[in-house]
Symmetry: C2
């Protein structure tokens, strides 16, 4: 059976306490920085497991996977700041319908879709306008 370990709980908690999407590596660093002795492989395993159960969302950027705790239990998409990682969960019913229809029109079955919107959030837009530097993605907010 599936067991409850403090490690899995620590990953869940750390992810919930994070505003935007983070990489497994960054999440692991943060856990270590806060005194946890959790291993890197375990973080990867926990994230994969949590993704399977639908407790966290994942997306791929620049060839690395980023994770975030879901606040909505239902299917949704994301509006992500490519500077600070701040994320807004958005529902997109028209897009869902469009995707289904396009797939059907071309005889495709078992359709799913990847829909993400990236941009600069209001704060980072102001920052950039003030001449501020853009930081690397994957950072914690």
């Amino acid at each position: 059976m599936k067991r409850n370990t403090w490690q899995r709980e620590a990953v869940r908690t750390a992810l919930t306490g994070t505003e935007g999407f983070v990489s497994a590596q960054v999440l692991h660093s943060h856990l270590r920085d806060t005194g946890s002795s959790i291993g890197l492989a375990t973080v990867y395993r926990a994230l994969a497991s949590l993704e399977e159960t639908g407790e966290v969302d994942a997306l791929q950027q620049d060839g690395e996977s980023l994770y975030r705790a879901c606040t909505q239990g239902t299917h949704h998409h994301h509006l992500i700041c490519r500077n600070c990682g701040t994320t807004v969960e958005i529902s997109a019913d028209p897009v869902e319908q469009w995707a289904r229809q396009v797939a059907a029109e071309h005889g495709f079955t078992q359709a799913n879709h990847v829909v993400d919107v990236f941009g600069l959030c209001a704060a980072c837009t102001a920052l950039a306008a003030a001449g501020g530097q853009v930081a690397e993605p994957g950072r914690v907010t």
Copy 2:
């Protein structure tokens, strides 16, 4: 200045002669199989360069980048068979507008988006129904 080499041309040609999305590694194998002496690093460089100029589209799947020659010069999206890689280029004006609007509503600027629909094409759907096996992605069609 930018130079025209037979290597870059070979990559462009090989990609044009391919139906679906392919990985750099697979494309390289095919070029070698057809007698070319092109190097792997060069294939990567050519693909990156072609993507920059907008001549080819790229998407990320399972942590690897896949490439395909664009037939439309304008912005568009893809409907991709996750079994055989067959791809249909689709325009999605309603989605473009939706993305722009959602970004603006939340104060995001410089918005772009990732929109891809995956599924099983008609042929592969029939194949699967007949008990056929699904092959791995990244293969050439």
